[in-house]
Amino acid sequence: MTASATPCFATEGLTKRFPRVTALDDLTVAAGTGVTGLVGANGAGKSTLIKILLGLLPPTSGRAWVLGLDTATQGLEIRRAVGYMPEHDCLPPDMSATEFVVHMAQMSGLPRTAARERAADTLRHVGLDEERYRPMGGYSTGMRQRVKLAQALVHDPKLVFLDEPTNGLDPQGRDDMLALIRRIGTEFGISVLVTSHLLGELERVCDHVIVIDGGRLLRSSAIREFTRAEQTIAVEVDEGWQLLAERLTAGGETVAVQGRLLMVQVPPDDPGRTHDAVRDAVCDLGLSLLRLEQRRGRIEDVFKEPVA
């Protein structure tokens, strides 16, 4: 793969100031092929970053590249090669999904016949059947999100920007959309940059996660590193947690105390040892065990820990 050679997008000291707010603050980040998640609370600068990457908004300072193209000078070439699904509603209610997606394909430079074929294909892939001939004014939120996704994919881009694609969907629709995003990244071979303010859902579909807050980079790493390095088990006992903590620490375990909970780090090389040590310690001290659970390191933890 050429993932490291030509990153899907890269920024260097990217800053965007609006009269009242600083949306991006000296952001330097890069992402390779596959599915990349862009996580941040509302107003963290996700949509601004996408607009800059599309070449639609000039940054205050710094530079950005998409597929090796400079956003400042090659906006048209970038927009020819990428797809964009905005966060907001963008569908004219009196058009049918088919007409609309065909039209958008033509706007990307596809000839009319090819546009028709691609629109039919793409709408099938996103899971829109007979409804696609009806005016979009009567569509449910789930169907509207599918049409928005279809118009972003219809011209077979190399990279798609999906801005909050799960917004407003019920749990089932959310799962379907996430599965679809995973398929786009793997089966379709189209790289994806997907934003969300819900951290948990991105864990399931992304290869790489970028966390920004207040326009600053908090963390950028492969999803495996997020989850693997931070495996812990939570132990709660009725009384005597101090004794247990001392005993485990003496035995060479890394223990952190969170209220009445003991968070015991599990070393990735020998996970069984820690579990055994906890079991033995609880038995030997005669404590009553209330809780013993596996804590997968979650992306949320990034926000809890102070940035190193």
Binding site: Y84, P92, M107, P111, A114, D156, E187, G189
Partner: protein, 288 residues
């Protein structure tokens, strides 16, 4: 004979597109053509077709009458260059009804960001919309004029055919199309609501027509005939009529007043430039 399966369902999965990708010009053309079709209600609901087709039909009526008069009375009754001024109310209603359709829904339903996420610029978008409306307005005028001219040739009036008048009127139709489309789009693009757009365009026409009529009337009554022609320029239809007269040598409708001549052409150009600049600025702002 063995029964082997004759049909197999293949899941062909996702297929990449490796066909032609046309340039930006073709995308702009596609947008313009789609907009032009939409102006006449083509590819839209039946309800959307009624108004433009009805108005287009009304535009043909004087043609029919004129051909009839030419055939029966052998008289050149309705000069081509006066056609637009005669039908100005119909043209104004057409402009008011259709220019908001071109721009308001894209603003209201926020389709504009999608256009701009494709290899199109704000200027491309605005030019495609202006061109679509201008072509529609030109057609609205040129079709009846051409039918009338063909009728004149077939009827074979005494004397030479009024070819210069016809060509001058076609030139005038271009001027009407450019001026009215830029003013119509400029007014309609300031509101995302179609109803308000219709109201503002029709109000603009009624206001300018009334003001120019009142001023011209007062000036003529008080003996300032030389100034009355300038007052008439406030009405966009008389403005184009004078410009048409200055450029193509046709007789203006208001012969009794002093025609302002070249000045009318300059004013026309200034109004078009102002309107187009306004639209571009408005869209630059909407895009960011």
């Amino acid at each position: 004979m063995t029964t082997e399966p004759t049909a197999v369902i293949h899941d062909i999965g996702y297929r990449h597109y490796d066909g032609v990708r046309l340039g930006r010009g073709r995308a702009v053309l596609a947008l313009g053509v789609q907009s032009l079709r939409g102006v006449f209600g083509l590819g839209r609901t039946v309800r959307a077709k009624i108004m433009p087709l009805l108005l287009a039909a009304i535009m043909l009526m004087p043609t029919v009458v004129s051909i009839g008069v030419m055939a029966l009375a052998k008289q050149y009754m309705l000069p081509y260059p006066n056609y637009a001024v005669l039908m100005q109310a119909v043209i104004a209603i057409f402009l008011a009804a259709q220019s908001p359709y071109l721009v308001a829904p894209d603003l209201r339903f926020r389709v504009l960001p999608l256009y701009l996420s494709r290899p199109l610029t704000v200027t491309d978008y605005v030019l495609a919309k202006l061109a679509a409306l201008a072509v529609a307005l030109f057609g609205l005028l040129a079709v009846p004029l051409t039918i009338e001219y063909v009728g004149e040739l077939l009827v074979d009036l005494p004397g030479p055919p009024h070819t210069a008048d016809y060509l001058g009127a076609l030139g005038g139709a271009v001027l009407y199309a450019v001026l009215l489309s830029s003013v119509g789009i400029a007014l309609a693009s300031f509101t995302p609501r179609r109803g308000l757009g219709v109201a503002s365009v029709i109000a603009f026409y009624m206001f300018t027509a009334a003001v120019s009529g009142i001023f011209a009337g007062v000036l003529t009554a008080s003996g300032h005939d030389d100034l009355a022609g300038w007052a008439l320029l406030i009405n966009p239809f008389f403005l184009v009529d004078y410009a048409q007269s200055a450029l193509f040598g046709t007789a203006p409708v208001n012969i009794e007043t002093n025609p302002p001549g070249v000045a009318s052409v300059l004013i026309l150009l200034a109004v078009v430039a102002l309107a187009v600049t306004g639209v571009l600025l408005r869209y630059r702002k909407a895009a960011s």
